[in-house]
Every structure is written in structure tokens, then in C-alpha cells.
Symmetry: C2
Subunit: 342 residues, 2 copies
């Protein structure tokens, strides 16, 4: 385990990660939903060739053929947001090229021929964009993109038209949630062209108080403007979250400490734990760490735990199929191990 | 802190403590509820003299004058069951003579002129009776007891007539409680002349799954028969409790371990905790220790915590008056300190 999540990025007390993804398509092939098998294979080969035969970053890359991978390995990548469920369930040949540090993931023949995404810890949309842009330029040397002077990059879904960019940040907002101010924040974001959704939860509920903000508009603004917009809104939310945390603590420090420590106590002692409960407790513990109350746990360690307690990743770690009951037991075991308890 | 509770007695996986108390009265004075002040003072002086001027045990004795003690010190003794609320609220001069190890407590001018009680860890009613008997004999050398050939020792309340003995054991019965078998046990005890009541709770509810069994009959049986009866019933309950614990564990070891460890996690991490919650959690932790699941905590340590987290004892330890909110904070602090955490 040596991914981006073991680093601690800027504003990591509120921002878990930043992601930029670009949607791109080959000019010469139909969009994936109507392409034939032969064309799909050609697209996979050409992207593979363009990436793997060059050194575009310090990290190594791995080619993942969706047709050849077992379901648990694929699900493990979905859980880490490195590939999408759409890619797994594709109609034609599909693949992903993923860097060893899991900062870069290029999906081939998802909704578009290409989905280039870069993930960084903390609030680093500029860095993520920079790396995406570099990979994009490299691919463009070898690929003729579907591009219109009027609309920009052509994408399968019109919501991605233009820049094809989606810049998002995953925020941990326990104080906004506890105080109920989250509703006002969601409304304000909507008016500013920023989408907010809960992550990790079914039906997009905000499990673990984690919310993803992202741009709704891809057309009519430059990539830099979009990155700046999301970053600025992100910074405003960070400030609001921080002052609410400080206020909650000020109001009743013992109550605050009691909450985060109890959650730590349960998290580090449970022998059976669901992922839902883990997310909730980790949210409290993270808050305690961010506020300097809990001192011997690193936020990056919590990021790592959040990724690896998910069903498929858990089964990969223990290297066997686990029933739901077994997963709850092994999840508790993994958490204690990662927290260095036993 | 160096009381009986830091020792670990026989059957300590189920029995917290054994207590024997004898009710005795002077022949020459009216019972406390109708005696005058002068007589009350004489009784106090005579008992004080009979005990303090002799060496009856290895341990030192302290004389506690109820009229001179402050309310918190008196309440602290009540919480430890060394004196009764009746003694504190007495109409006339009253006192207690308590051994340093808190195994012996002699109340003077409670309901009867004398209440001699001996407390031992685990199931040791025979030892407690032996020590009571020794103290009783010593006192009888100097005091003419109210005694009738027909009824035996005369006591204020007819329920104590005869031997004047009450033999009781404090049992920790989480498995009987969890499984609901406790109801059947309570019924059976009633039929066998054994009273059962919850301890530490208001209205005698069984806070912390702690129950006290004691003899209902004091007349028509010898002291030894009474001690044996309570010990035998105690042993039957111990066996039932043990096999239910084993069965519960066997049915779902992970669920069992999860329960005791979660309670340990909360107990050792909380920053605010009520005494009610402490009792509940300590009950689970004790069960975990007794079952060999939790290894680095001693049962005697839990006994000690149970005594010292009570309101007045807590205030004595921190040497100041604490508001209810402060108590919940200091109680959490004391528990962590006693568990060796931080």
C-alpha cells in the first residue's frame, strides 16, 4: 500500500482528496456506446501504446484489461474510485491504465473513449490539473481528438462538452453537518454552479460526513477558470467548516473530546464492525485528529483505512472471499492492525 | 487505597464480595429509636473502649463520630457499604469503628446498638463469619447483650431476632440477566428463604448486573447453618452463571468479544461518564476479564473502580466539591487513571 492517500496534502484537516478528470474521444471512432468490438480493441491498443511506451511520470503504470480481471479486483478499483462501475460493465473491450501510486487512472472505453483522471491528497486541484494536462498533451501527440471549434472537445454526454473537465474535491464536513449549516452550504453551491454529493453512501447520502464538490459547467470557461472556481468555493467551505469546529469545541470542550474519544475507543476495540459504522466512527476520529485532540493518529492513516475497509479491498487484503459476517470481523481486525492496536 | 477490594477472593469471577453482619443490643439501654442522648453517648463510649483498647485483628481501627464528620466523608462510607444511611441520619449520638482495610465496620446506635459487619472479597462467608464471631465474643466480654433463652439475641426489628445474623454475597450475574434466566433464579431463591436485591441502583434495580443474596431467616437456625445455606445457594448460582457465560460465548464468540471490547473501548476513552453508564460498562469489562478475553485488567481493579467512581468517594479523591457535570468529567478521568490509560 503506497498510494496517494498515504501522503498528507494541503488543507488535509478538511479536504481528503482532489480529483481532475478529462473526457476525450477519438475523432475516427464512434462513441463507445455504439462502437463495434474491433474499433474498441483498437482504441485500447492505441492508448496503451501511447502511455506505456513513454515515461510521463515518475511512477510506473499498470495496464488493467477489464475482460481479464476477476470481479473482486475490479470492484476493489471501483471502491478506490480509480475506475467507474460503467467501465466494469462495458459492452465492448475496456481497460484502465493506473499508476502505481494510484494518482493517475486512464479509463478506456468508458462513456467516452478516454477518461483521464488524476487524484491528489488534500486540496491540490491545480496540481491534479497540471498532471492531467501533461498526460492529455502526450496522448494528443498520437491521437486525433474529436474536437469542434465551436463546442470544444466533443463528449458522449453534453454535460461534458467543451473542456471535458470535471474538477472535484472530497471534503470532510462534520461540523457543517452537526450544526445543520450544511443545507445552506448545499444551496449556495448550487447557485454558484457547484454540484455537491455525498460519497461512499448508497443513494449519495453523505456517509462519514464526506461530500464531493465539483463543477457543473464544462463549457464557456477555461480549464483554469474551472479549477479556480472549485478551489475558491472549496476554500470558503473549508473556512466555514473550520470556524464551526472551533465554535463547537469552544462551546463544550469536554463534550467534544468525549465524542471523538468514544468513537476512537469503539473503533479500536470492536471485533465486529460494519462499513457504515466504521465510516461514522472514522469521521469522529478524523475530527479529533484534525482538532489536535487525538495526537498519535495520522490523517493519512485514516484515509488509507477508509479505502481498505471496503468489501472488495478487504477481501483482496485477506486474499479470500469473505461472507458479509466475516467481512465485519476482518474489517475490525484490519482497523486495529492499521491503528497499531493489539 | 488499600481495602479488601484490592484482594481477589475465591470465585471472584462471579462473587464480588461476602458480608456477614450481626445485630446486637445492650441489655441495660433502650433500643436506639427510643433511647436518650446520654445513654446513646454511653453506648458509643463503651463500644469504643471495648474495641480500640484491644488488638482484635492485625489491622488498625478508626473511630468515626457521625456528629463530627462532614457530609461527604459520611456519604463516602455509605457508598462503600461501611455504614448505612440510617446511621448517618440517626436521632442520637452515633458512630462507626472501621478497620483500615475496611474489612470490619462496627456501627453504633444504628437501628440496633451494635451492627458488627465483616466484608471479604469473593465468596468467603465462612471467613467473614469467623471474624464477626471473634469480634462479637470480644465485645461480649465487656457488654451484657439483650438476650432471651427463647428468642436468642433481641433486636429492634423482629426480622433480625435470634442469631441477629445477615449473611450476604454480592454477585455479578450478567449472563443470567442477558438470557433472562435471572427471573427463575429470583423465584427459586425466594422459595429457599434467600432474599435477592439489586445493589447500587435506586429502587434496588440491578445496576451493573450486581445482585445481593442474603438469608431471610435469622431465627431457628444456627449461624453456621445460615452461612452454609447462603454459601450453597451462592455456589449454585455461580455454577449457573458460569455455564450460561460459556454457552453465550460458544454461540457467538465474536459477538461476545465485540461486546466486552466495545465497552472497554468506551470506558477507557470517555471524557464524560455517568455512574450508571460506568456500572454498565464495567459489568461488560468484568465479564470479559472473567472469561479470559481481556487479559491486562485485574478484577480487583474493577472492584476498586466501582467503589471510587461514586459521587462522594470521587469528591474525596479530588479533594473538593464537584458539581454533577464536573463529577462526570472527573469520573472519566479517574477510570482512565485506574486503568492505566493516558
Amino acid at each position: 500500500m503506497e498510494g496517494w492517500y498515504i501522503e498528507k496534502g494541503p488543507e488535509s484537516d478538511v479536504v481528503m482528496s482532489s480529483r481532475v478528470r478529462l473526457a476525450r474521444n477519438f475523432k475516427e471512432y464512434p462513441f463507445p456506446f455504439k462502437m463495434n468490438r474491433e474499433d474498441a480493441e483498437k482504441v485500447v491498443e492505441r492508448v496503451k501504446d501511447a502511455i506505456l511506451n513513454r515515461s510521463i511520470a515518475t511512477s510506473d503504470y499498470e495496464f488493467k484489461d477489464m475482460l481479464k480481471m476477476n470481479p473482486i479486483d475490479k470492484q476493489a478499483l471501483v471502491e478506490k474510485h480509480l475506475i467507474s462501475p460503467n467501465l466494469v460493465n462495458g459492452r465492448v473491450a475496456s481497460a484502465a491504465i493506473i499508476s502505481k501510486d494510484e494518482k493517475v487512472s486512464i479509463m478506456i472505453n468508458e462513456e467516452d473513449h478516454l477518461r483521464i483522471q488524476c487524484l491528489f491528497p488534500g486540496l491540490q486541484l491545480d496540481k491534479a490539473w497540471e498532471l492531467c494536462d501533461k498526460i492529455d498533451s502526450l496522448l494528443e501527440e498520437n491521437i486525433d481528438y474529436a474536437f469542434s471549434e465551436k463546442y470544444g472537445y466533443l463528449t458522449c454526454c453534453p454535460t461534458n462538452l467543451g473542456t471535458g473537465i470535471r474538477a472535484s474535491a472530497m471534503l470532510h464536513l462534520p461540523a457543517l453537518t452537526m450544526t445543520g449549516y450544511i443545507r445552506g452550504m448545499l444551496e449556495a453551491c448550487g447557485k454558484l454552479g457547484i454540484a455537491v454529493r455525498g460519497i461512499y453512501g448508497e443513494n449519495s447520502e453523505a456517509l462519514g460526513n464526506l461530500f464531493q464538490i465539483s463543477n457543473q459547467i464544462t463549457l464557456g470557461l477555461s480549464e483554469e477558470e474551472i479549477i479556480n472556481n472549485v478551489t475558491n468555493i472549496g476554500n470558503q467551505i473549508i473556512n466555514q467548516e473550520r470556524s464551526l469546529r472551533a465554535e463547537l469545541y469552544r462551546q463544550n470542550p469536554y463534550r467534544f473530546e468525549d465524542k471523538v474519544y468514544r468513537s476512537l475507543g469503539i473503533l479500536s476495540n470492536a471485533r465486529i464492525i460494519s462499513s457504515e459504522e466504521s465510516f461514522k466512527l472514522i469521521s469522529d476520529v478524523r475530527l479529533g485528529v484534525d482538532m489536535g485532540i487525538i495526537k498519535n493518529i495520522d490523517v493519512a492513516k485514516l484515509n488509507e483505512i477508509l479505502l481498505y475497509i471496503q468489501s472488495a479491498n478487504l477481501q483482496k487484503i485477506f486474499d479470500r472471499t469473505l461472507s458479509p459476517d466475516e467481512r465485519d470481523i476482518k474489517r475490525a481486525e484490519l482497523i486495529r492492525e492499521k491503528l497499531g492496536i493489539n
